[in-house]
């Protein structure tokens, strides 16, 4: 069996890749992908614990977290679509009507 420490390590790396991407990228859909990476990093952490304890609770958390991540993508893409229909861009730098 793989050492759970490696799994949580991978999870931490993925999480910070996602976090860094979410703060630096300018394209809304890429930011959404970074958020997905962060959510999946969380699932790896739950896997690491659930593997060791053998408690089904951890697996339940993961399946619910996947469902939440999926609905987040659905909501996010719908919002970006509505942004695009009025502004014809989803570049976050160009979206600045509300600065004052």
């Amino acid at each position: 069996m793989i050492d759970p420490g490696y799994i949580s390590g991978l999870s931490a790396i993925l999480f910070f890749i996602g976090l860094a991407g979410a703060f630096t990228r300018k394209h809304a859909i890429i930011v959404l992908m970074c958020i997905e990476i962060m959510l999946n990093a969380v699932n790896l952490n739950f896997v690491a614990v659930a593997m060791q304890t053998g408690d089904p609770e951890g697996w339940v958390f993961i399946s619910i977290a996947i469902a939440i991540a999926a609905s987040e993508v659905a909501v996010g893409l719908a919002i970006f679509l509505s942004l695009y229909s009025t502004r014809e861009t989803i570049n976050l730098d160009e979206v600045d009507l509300l600065k004052h």
Binding site: S8, F15, L32, G58, F61, I64, L83, R87, L98
Partner: protein, 596 residues
């Protein structure tokens, strides 16, 4: 009393979760009623058709565009009433806990539960229902349903066509809006009830995802897409950070028992609160996980440094939604913060919680930044957004005093009472202010102070109500805003003077010996004085500036009724028997929270 039986067959389930059951019934009604129709299904191989009443050509009576709003308002009124029943019935009867294995208990004698319905959760579910009810009432006039809507005539002019299409669009999306409002209510209720971190997260996400859609709801307006994009991206980054913090706490809870078991329950023998109390020195995993957990809640209450999306979201979306963000969503954030901070990582008497310096600093920065930004803005919606940030700072100061561990049990109770009472009365006057902005918004524009110019002459009653709401926000006695601020400052001072020796020789000695939490109260008083400038400015432009528009404000009967209701509640909850009732309810909630 200890009852255990399969969860769904238990009579206590429906009884203890009445508000949630009401909301679920409301959601089902909203899905079914507008879709009733004359559809039939043919039995295979025969010519028989049996009616299924769902789909096909809709019945005229049930597909009326006014119906979703009525269903949603009635559902929220019933949910609020059944939440308030807790305070009529008394605490012992209505405290019910449900654990993960399906056991359901009255009185909560066991401790391994995931949902807890007590005075603390019920006062918050009442706040959520009330705030959402006001938002719904405002939206009924903001996005009116017309029974007489017709398809545009091909020969009519372009502007007439656009108007007819807009009316049809409003009719079509009535159901969607009210359905989403009820989902927000359900998610928020789950947050208030849950004593399990993961369940709390599920409720938080249910409410947040519906709110993101609602912020983008008026999609024909240029700003709503932008507001929703910003709010959605910052919101989902912060909730991802929160969930990661939870997973770290899950690892930590597993490592405490050498991975025999792991849990995200706050209470119980293996719960996070017990593990936290058993910890001798602060373990890094626990501290990091806990800190990340607070990021998401900080975003929900719009505390610095997670405030940056809030002003954009408030000013870009419709005013009824902004009122929901400023009251219900903020109350949800504080319900979660209080549960987690007090139950899980509460300080021992005499020793401070590790989050105290962080929270104390954040509260000062949040209130000062919010007030300074509100001073310099010319957009009333943005001003209210920044004032909402400042109010978050005041409440964080009360939380910090709670974390100092200096206060006695009774002072802790006062502090939590102050926070709950503030969130309660905030729903009266902040929603009221946004309701009035909704009226100017229907008339065209509410994004500049000019829309309020001369309101005193255009509509005296509305202008006076707006002025009263502004005074209540500033905390002028005898309005409810004063009482709530007074309770917070009083709590902080009596918490901090517990450490200083008041009888010491000089005032300077006393000031140097007092705990630094005292200065939070000072900074709060200074900030309140600062905030008077921009609140009174609204009164000045309403009564002394010349109006740019000669049009009277719209009729909007629902909004007018709700404004008057908010006005009465704001005034009577500041002084007199009604305010005493509210404070008693908040005290009962505080006692229940501290008892967990």
């Amino acid at each position: 009393m200890n009852i255990e039986s399969p969860l769904l067959a238990h009579p206590l389930l429906v009884e203890s979760l009445r508000p949630e059951m009401t909301i679920i019934v409301g959601i089902l009604l909203l899905i079914i009623v507008p879709n009733l129709g004359n559809a039939t299904v043919r039995i295979p191989m025969t010519q028989f058709r049996i009616p299924v009443f769902l789909g096909g050509e809709r019945f005229r009576a049930t597909s009326d565009p006014l119906i979703p709003g009525v269903i949603s308002m009635f559902t929220l009124i019933l949910a609020m009433a059944s939440s308030l029943m807790t305070f009529v019935e008394g605490a012992a009867l209505s405290t019910v806990c449900i654990s993960a294995n399906g056991a359901i208990q009255q009185g909560c004698t066991g401790s391994d539960y995931i949902l807890r319905s007590d005075a603390f959760s019920r006062i918050f579910t009442s706040i959520f229902s009330f705030a959402l009810l006001i938002g719904t009432a405002a939206m009924i006039n903001r996005m009116p349903a017309r029974v007489d809507a017709k398809a545009p005539h091909p020969d009519s002019s372009d502007s007439l066509k656009a108007r007819a299409i807009h009316i049809l669009l409003n009719n079509r999306r009535q159901g969607d809006f009210h359905l989403l409002i009820l989902f927000v209510a359900l998610g928020m209720n789950i947050v208030a009830l849950s004593t399990n971190l993961f369940l709390l997260f599920v409720g938080l996400e249910l409410a947040s995802l519906a709110i993101y859609v609602l912020v983008a709801f008026m999609k024909e307006e240029t700003t709503s897409g932008e507001a929703a994009t910003k709010y959605f991206l910052t919101g989902s980054v912060s909730s991802a950070v929160t969930l990661y913090g939870m997973s770290l706490l899950y690892i930590w809870s597993g490592s405490a028992s050498d991975y025999a078991s792991a849990t995200l329950n706050l209470t119980g023998p293996q719960g996070l609160a017990a593990t936290w109390a058993a910890m001798e020195t602060l373990e890094p995993l626990a501290a990091i996980g806990f800190g990340m957990l607070l990021v998401g809640f900080g975003f929900k209450v719009s505390a610095v440094p997670f405030h940056f999306a809030a002003p954009d979201a408030y000013s870009g979306t419709s005013s009824p939604m902004a009122s929901i963000l400023a009251t219900a969503s903020k109350a949800m954030g504080f319900a979660a913060l209080l549960r987690v901070l007090v139950v899980m990582a509460g300080p021992e008497l005499g020793s401070q919680a590790f989050w105290l310096p962080v929270l104390g600093l954040l509260s000062v920065v949040t209130m000062t930044w919010g007030n300074l930004a509100a001073l310099s803005t010319e957009n009333p919606k943005r001003m209210l957004a920044y004032s909402s940030v400042a109010h978050a700072g005041y409440l964080l100061a009360a939380l910090a005093a709670l974390g100092s561990g200096l206060a006695s049990e009774s002072t802790n109770e006062v502090l939590i009472t102050a926070i709950v009472f503030h969130l309660l009365v905030l729903a009266f006057f902040k929603s009221g202010a946004f309701l009035i902005l909704t009226m100017t918004e229907i008339r065209g524009d509410s994004s500049s102070m000019e829309s309020l110019y001369g309101l005193g002459r255009r509509d005296p009653i509305i202008a006076v109500s707006m002025f009263v709401f502004m005074l209540a926000l500033a905390g002028v006695p005898p309005l409810s805003g004063f009482l709530s601020k007074f309770l917070v400052i009083d709590g902080i001072i009596s918490a901090s003077t517990g450490s200083g020796s008041i009888s010491a020789a000089g005032a300077m000695d006393w000031l140097s010996s007092v705990h630094w939490v005292f200065w939070l109260a000072v900074s709060m008083a200074l900030n309140s004085a600062l905030s008077l400038f921009y609140y009174l400015r609204v009164g000045q432009v309403m009564f002394f500036e010349k109006s740019k528009s000669i049009l009277p404000l719209p009729d909007a009967p629902m909004i007018r009724i709700t404004v008057i209701l908010c006005l009465i509640l704001t005034v009577i909850s500041g002084l007199g028997p009604f305010s005493q009732t509210l404070v008693d309810m908040a005290t009962m909630a505080a006692q229940h929270l501290l008892k967990v």
